[in-house]
Every structure is written in C-alpha cells, then in structure tokens.
Amino acid sequence: MQVNLNINKKQYSLDLVGNETLLEILRDRLSMTGTKTACQETECGTCTVMINGKAVLSCITLAANVQGDQITTIEGLAEGDVLHPVQQAFIDHGSVQCGFCIPGMIMSSVALLQKNPEPTQEEVEYALDGNICRCAGYPKIFDAVKEAGKKMKK
C-alpha cells in the first residue's frame, strides 16, 4: 500500500506491506537512526517520537496508521544549526551519559514542555517515568527539563 508520512515537516511517500512499525520505517527505510529502541515492547520509552505534539512509542505505532499526522523525531528538533532549548539544556546540565535513551527522553520532555513549560517536579517525573535511563540518577535530567521550559516560555 502507498502511504504518505509527514516526518519533521517533510513528506515521504512509502510503499508498505502494512505491518511495519513507525520505528522500523524511521530506522530501516529512512535511515533516521536518531530514534533508538531498547526493548521493542513498550517498556523502555527509548523509541519515543512526537505525533501531533504527543509523546508516542514508535515501536507499537503502525506507520500506516499515522498518515496525515505531524510526526516529529529527534532529527526534527533543531532549527538549522540552533539546537532546541531542551537539547541545549541536556548538554549544559550534563544530563547525557551513554546517550542511548536521550532521544526518547528529549522527545518526552519536549511534548511535556510544549503543553506545560513550567512543570512541577512531580509533573516532570510523571512525564518521564516511561523513559528509562540506566546511566544517570535522573536529577540532571530533571534540572535540564525545568530550565529548558523557562527558555521555551520566553
């Protein structure tokens, strides 16, 4: 089947069997390997992308089901050379260690902050609870999210 996907504000026309997940399409068909996965069974949050502004797990999203939706991946956040405030804050606060969870973590953070740029600690924790980071103790991630929110509000 012919499927048109809007990814990072670009149109992609793809010939699909129909059972491909969005994750597979991004990584294997479009070579957009910024989106990672650590379990492929919805338990780790690593494959998180945004669909119409909501954080969504690409490992259980059928590509054929998201035609006409605005899909944003980690590759679509920076504006030219300028990093998104969340990306910059993750660097500034030393929130990245191995980095494998970070694309998903950032997508969940952006989805939160676009709706709620001044989240409480509890709101940050709830928004990120689905994203496992095995390296960090999370505090530096919390700090980055809160600071980025302030910048996004401006």
Binding site: H93, G94, Q97, F100, I132, R134
Partner: protein
C-alpha cells in the same frame, strides 16, 4: 616570529580544562541523534544474524542437522561447532587458566537455557528466524541443578568436570583468626543473601562482523566496553593474529560490566560473514536475550563472623561466600576474590579467614557487573558492622571510625594505601546529612538514617599480567591535536575527561583536541572500561603522551632560540620561559616552527602507563592490586510506612574521595548514576529463575530505577590529590554503588527496629519482619 601573536581560533574558555565541567564531546551528537552506536551501523547487503540457543538447561547434543535451514531461500550461512576450532575462551585466563570453560558454539553439551550451539545469517530477520526453527537438534536431556546448596551436594548432576560443581575454591587467609575469636569479648555471626541483578544497558549487545575472505581480515563493529579484550578473544578462538582482527568500538549505549567480554554472537558474526563470502553480518540481541544470555551479577550467600573487643576494636573476621556462577566461569573467579578482599581497603583487620566457592549451576552465566563483588560484600559487611555496633551499644559511626584504614598504611594483605580520604568522607557526609540530630531521634516519625562506607580499586590486573594503557598525542601543523586512546567510553565521559588531561598537560585549550578512541587498529592498547581504572590508568597514559608531545615541541623551540629545554614550558596556549614567567611565543607559532622549512619535525607524543602493583597470590589473597585506592561514605535517610511496608528514601548523601575532579559535572553524574543503581538493587532489581528459566526477562518484570521515586541526591567531592593520579585524580563512580543497600537497610533499622538481611527490601519483607518483632515482644 612575533612575540605577541593574535588570539588563536582554538582558544576557548577551557584553556586550563582540568577541574572544569567541560561539556561532553559527544553531547551534540547525542541530543541530535547523530551519534552512531553499533546499533546504528548498516551496510548495503548486510545480513541479519541470529543465534540458535538451547531450550534445555542441561542436555547432551546428540546431533545437529542444518540442511533444511541451509536450503531455505535467503539463508546465506549456517554455522555450528563443526565450523570452529572448538577453542574455549574465558576471562580469568591469566590467574585461573582452568576456568576458561566456554565455547562460542558448544559441541557436545549445553549447560543453560540460552546456550549457543549454532548461528544463521539471512537476508532479513524473518528468514533468519525461520532458519533457526529449521535446524534440527537432537538432545539427550540431563537433570539440571539450579540452587547453590543442591549443586554442591555429592551426587548432584555434573555440569563440568569440577568436583561437586565447585569451579573454584578461593581462600583468603591471614594470621590466626581462630585464636583471636577466642580472645574476643564478643563474637557475632550473620548471613546475607545478595540477589542476582542484571546490567541491562539500554543498548543491547550489538555487533556487525565482516570477514574479508581473500585478505583474511576481520572487522567487528561492536558495543564492547573492552575492545582489545574482545579482539584477543576473537583472535584466539578464530586462530588469527591480533593484527588480523580489528574491533571498532562505536558509541556504546551503556555497559555496566555486561559488555566486558566477547560473546558467542561476536564470534558467530565473523564466522557467518566468512561463510557468506564476506558479506557483513549484524547480530542484535533482543531485550529478552539480553536479560537471559548475557552476563548477570552473581547471587551470593555471604556469611560473616566477627570478633571484637569491648571497646569496639575488631580482632578477627571469618566467613564464607557461595556464589551462584551459572553455566560458565566468565569473570567469576575474580568477582569472588573482590567480594572477599575489598574489606582490607576499608577496615584494619589483621586476623582474617574467608573462603569463597564459585559454584556451577544450570542458570545463566554470572560475570562482571558494576560493583564487581563489592555490591554484595558492601551490603553484607556494612549491615554486619551496624549489627555489631548495636550489640555493643556503640554508635555505628564511632564503631567504624575505630576500625577504618587511614592514609599511608599497608594492609594485612599488602595493599599499599597512600592517600585515603575515608575519614574525611565520613565527616563530611555526617555533617551534610545532619546525622547527629537525626540518628535514633526520628523513630516516632518512622524515619531513620543509616551509613555505609566503601573503597574501590583503580584497575586490578585481573584479566592480564599487565594493565597498561597507551596514548598517542599527535599535533598537526595548524596546532590542532589528535588524541588517540584505547580507552572505551561507554557513556561515562572518559573521552572528554582524558582529552581534558591531555590538553592540560600539553598546555592548550580543550577545543584543540579531537579524541579518537577504542579502535584496535589505530589506537594504542587499553584493557578496557572496568574497575574505575580509566581516569587513573588511561589518564596517566594521556598525561605521558601529552608530556612527550610537549617535550618534542619545546625541543624545536629550544634549538631555535638556543635555550635549554629545561627552561621552557607550555602553559595556557603559550610557550613560556619558566624563570621569567614570560611568554616567548604562542602555541600556534611554536607549531609553525616545528613544521617549518628548517625543522620539518612531526609532533607525535606517546604515553604508556602500567600501574605500580604486585600480583595477587590467590592462595592467600596477598597483593597490591591497584596503583591507588578510592574511598566513600554514604548516608541514607528513609521513611517507612508500617502499614504497607513501603520504604521511601528521602535523601542520599555521598562523599567520595576522588583524588581530584577532572570534570566535576561528570563526576557528579557518575555518582548519581551509581546511587540510582544502588537504589534499584536495594528495592527491586532481582532477576528470578525457575529451573534455570528467567522469569522476568523484560523491563516490566525486571524493574530498574525510573523517574518517579528518585530521592534528592547530594554529592560531596573529597579531593585528596593522589601523588600517582593524573593531576591527583583517582578513578571514581563505581564505589558509590557499593554501600547504598547497607546504608538503606541500616536506616530502616534506625527507623522501625527491623533488620532485612536478604535483598531486595520489599514491602512484604518489612511487614513480615514487623510481625516477627511484635511476636518477639509479646
């Protein structure tokens, strides 16, 4: 040659980078998704590889028929033990050659559910999966043995040749503990259970293997945290020369000890590629395979008995440790040794006898995981210490202070402790946590506070006779610098920290440095990322490499100006005349001179560092394993809900003797990560088994720390300026994981008066302990 040059394009705010929180070199790559992991490696015509694994915990392999799989369209290669040299591999070959016991593809027998006996490569995943199903294996199922106590009984099923399934008995023995126990005023014995945890890094094990069939060269793109060790094992088992095998470490999505060894998948990817005519083969473990077939933390029964004087002085300690090793030895012997010998770094004990038993079972393979035996011993010993103090009616801190090691001393097993910030760590942690006003004073609130202390090595020479690291510092004509290190950054930030050390010693801005790391063909040898060794050992190599490059530059400058090289130095981007403190020229100008018509001198500095240690005598436990030692004190404050049994950690304080913080932000991040992992091990990380099958092989069943419930973490850096460390630095991070479980268990007792000796601390165990206490009282 101008004396005052214009500011270099390289000059940045990190002119003296050591001690500054320089952002991670990989930061932008990480946050944009551009950083390439082995998981992301892809080539045209790349094949998908899969491992055939035993469904039985223990069975003889009678026959393997691969003909149907080979005939399936799309299958490009199938390999079994018949295609291999059947050479065994292991990780403690140098000290314990008889524990080298695993074959990449087993030929005669399988010993755990998941044991590898064949592999396939096909054009896609579906075909590869189908091919696995078409391989016909005839087994003779053997009785399995899954518990330590069962495995060591005479007549238990034999897993290897080892008598009573004991792969190794390790004695640690000094002086006369039996006599001192008799002289002691008080003797206490405790038994602890330390469960099985799993490293479970977010990136599963991934590799891409390619065997150039005509030139006979192998390349493995890998998620390894020890690429040179992986190369060595591949070369040995495939009968190749070291320089025929290239292991390229990509960005690694976490390791935590689990990625220290070559796995059968690495071997199979190369062999499959050879059979498929040289096409690259990618093998990526599923999360379930990651949990069930990679290395796990040893479950340990830890029994310890201590004799003390009335005043709290420890006279003697005795005990035994039984470790569930699973099907193969892996790093087990040295994990077991570390679980018994770490105590000498922490407490002054003269009379000691402990025996370790590493037991084969038909469970998955135990090996290295962050903490390396120290998480288990940390929980046991630090819980035990609190219990002794309580019996003596002593404050647990006072009891510890009476017995801890100090600076400039030699331990009973001949470890040489030079700088030792343990006392300072304890003092600072007590102060920061307001211990004096909290300990024993919050019971009415069901709150408590507890302490645990620990120490760690900076490397250990456990896998080879030497533990050298090398560095090359190559300065280009424009003053930009290549820094080559064999060290494997697995996310801890070693590329950044080592580059900071190189830049500082060379006397230049951080932004001049490009780090090339962990490629066995182009970077110098390094044993890998483990035992908190990288900052200390690879850092010293970086320092020496930069010093050598600097000497070469100054040699040219001295010749040109007819000065003595001893009078010159490079500091903060300038060549300076030391006595006058005056700048002679900029670094850029000095490089112009080196690469000028008259000199044409290439600047290639080399560094090689091997820590000053002595080999451990594993008949007694004697030996100075590390070039320096790091120390640690940790305090936990908890609140217990006695209705539900839930323990909430309110705050953690961690004071860490790190010598010198090369990158304070990274140091903090390392400590916070260790604390989180310690929380996980204390409360829920518990890989469970039934008849050798993992019951919770996913992130839903095996819970790891998540964003909700992370307490406030306070990190305190104690800088003891180690004379042997690069700029005074020691290795750090791992130690912060060691005392966490005990600090929390001790805090729980302070809060509600019950003691948990079997991890994890679950609400069920708390409720049960409270009920038992109530019965005792009545």
């Amino acid at each position: 040659m101008g004396l005052t040059a214009k500011k270099s394009k390289f000059e940045d705010q990190y002119v003296d980078p050591v001690g500054k929180s320089v952002p991670r070199l990989e930061g932008k790559g990480i946050v944009t998704g551009q950083l390439k992991y082995a998981f992301d490696v892809s080539f045209p015509n790349m094949l998908v590889g899969k491992m055939l694994r035993s469904p039985h915990a223990h069975a003889k392999i009678l026959s393997i028929d691969t003909s149907k799989a080979e005939a399936l369209p799309g299958v490009k290669a199938v390999v079994t033990a018949r295609d291999t040299h059947q050479i065994k591999f292991g990780s403690n070959e140098y000290f314990f050659p008889h524990t080298v016991d695993q074959m990449a593809l087993e030929a005669d027998k399988v010993r755990y559910i998941g044991d590898e006996l064949a592999a396939v490569a096909a054009v896609d995943e579906e075909t590869a999966d189908q091919a696995l199903r078409l391989i016909d294996v005839k087994y003779e199922v053997l009785p399995g043995v899954f518990e330590i106590e069962e495995a060591i009984k005479p007549g238990a099923p034999q897993i290897h040749e080892a008598l009573n399934n004991i792969a190794l008995i390790l004695p640690v023995n000094f002086n006369n503990p039996e006599r001192m126990m008799k002289e002691a005023d008080y003797v206490r014995e405790d038994k602890f259970w330390c469960p099985v945890a799993h490293p479970s890094p977010m990136e599963p094990h991934v590799c891409v293997g390619q065997w150039e069939t005509f030139t006979n060269k192998i390349t493995l793109w890998s998620s390894s945290q020890a690429p040179f060790k992986c190369r060595e094992a591949l070369a040995k088992t495939l009968k190749m020369d070291l320089n025929d095998v290239r292991v390229i470490k990509m960005a690694v999505g976490g390791g935590f000890g689990g990625k220290l060894e070559m796995l059968p998948m690495d071997f199979a990817a190369c062999l499959l590629s050879k059979k498929a005519g040289g096409l690259p083969v990618k093998i990526c473990l599923t999360r379930e395979e990651e949990f069930t077939t990679t290395r796990r933390k040893h479950g340990m029964i830890y029994r310890v008995k201590t004799g003390v004087k009335k005043d709290g002085t420890i006279l003697a300690m005795m005990g035994d440790v039984f470790a569930d090793g699973g099907a193969y030895c892996s790093y087990g012997p040295t994990v077991l040794a570390a679980a018994m010998m770490r105590i000498f770094m922490v407490y002054k004990i003269q009379h000691f006898k402990m025996t370790g038993y590493r037991v084969y079972t038909n469970n998955p393979i135990s090996g290295a995981m962050r903490g390396f035996g120290g998480v288990q011993s940390g929980f046991a010993i630090e819980s035990h210490m609190d219990l002794i103090a309580k019996d003596l009616g002593m404050d647990p801190v006072e009891f510890r202070l009476k017995n801890i090691t100090g600076p400039n001393m030699v331990t009973v097993n001949k470890m040489i402790l030079t700088t030792n910030g343990l006392r300072e760590c304890i003092d600072k942690a007590l102060k920061a946590s307001d211990w004096a006003n909290k300990r024993g004073k919050m019971k009415h609130l069901k709150k408590g506070i507890g302490i645990g202390i620990a120490a760690d090595v900076m490397g250990s020479k456990m896998y080879k006779s030497h533990e050298s690291a090398g560095a090359i510092v190559k300065v280009e004509e424009d003053g930009s610098v290549y820094f080559f290190t064999g060290a494997a950054d697995t996310g801890q930030g070693s590329n950044t920290a080592l580059s900071q050390i190189a830049a500082q010693e060379l006397g230049v801005s951080f932004s001049r440095i490009k780090c090339k790391a962990g490629d066995t063909e182009i970077t110098p040898f390094d044993t890998g990322s483990f035992a908190s060794r990288v900052t200390f050992i690879s850092g010293n190599a970086a320092l020496l490499g930069a010093r050598d490059a600097k000497r070469q530059i100054l040699d040219v400058v001295a010749k040109e100006y007819k000065m003595s090289i001893e009078d010159l130095d490079i500091k903060a981007e300038k060549v300076i005349i030391k006595k006058e403190g005056r700048s002679l020229m900029s670094f850029d100008k000095a490089l112009e001179l080196c690469y000028s018509f008259n000199y044409g001198k290439q600047i290639i500095g080399r560094g090689s560092y091997n820590p000053k240690t002595t080999p451990v005598d594993f008949r007694s436990g004697e030996g100075n394993v590390s070039g320096s030692y790091g120390f640690e004190a940790q305090i936990a404050e908890v609140e217990v809900d006695t209705d539900t049994g839930e323990v909430k950690v309110l705050e953690l304080w961690d004071a860490h003797d790190i010598g010198k913080a090369i990158n304070p932000q990274s140091c903090e991040a390392q400590i916070e990560g260790s604390l989180a992992m310690g929380l996980g091990y204390t409360f829920y990380e518990d890989l469970r088994f039934k008849n050798g099958r993992v019951l919770n092989a996913n992130f839903a069943g095996y819970r790891v720390p998540r964003a909700i419930g992370i307490p406030k973490m306070n990190t305190i850096m104690v800088e003891t300026d180690d004379p042997e460390g690069p700029f005074g630095a020691k290795g750090m991070g791992e130690a912060a994981l060691l005392p966490t479980s005990a600090a929390i268990a001790n805090a729980v007792e302070d809060a509600i008066g019950v003691r948990i000796k079997e991890l994890p601390i679950t609400p069920e165990k708390i409720i049960k302990a409270l009920k038992e206490k109530a019965v005792e009282k009545s």
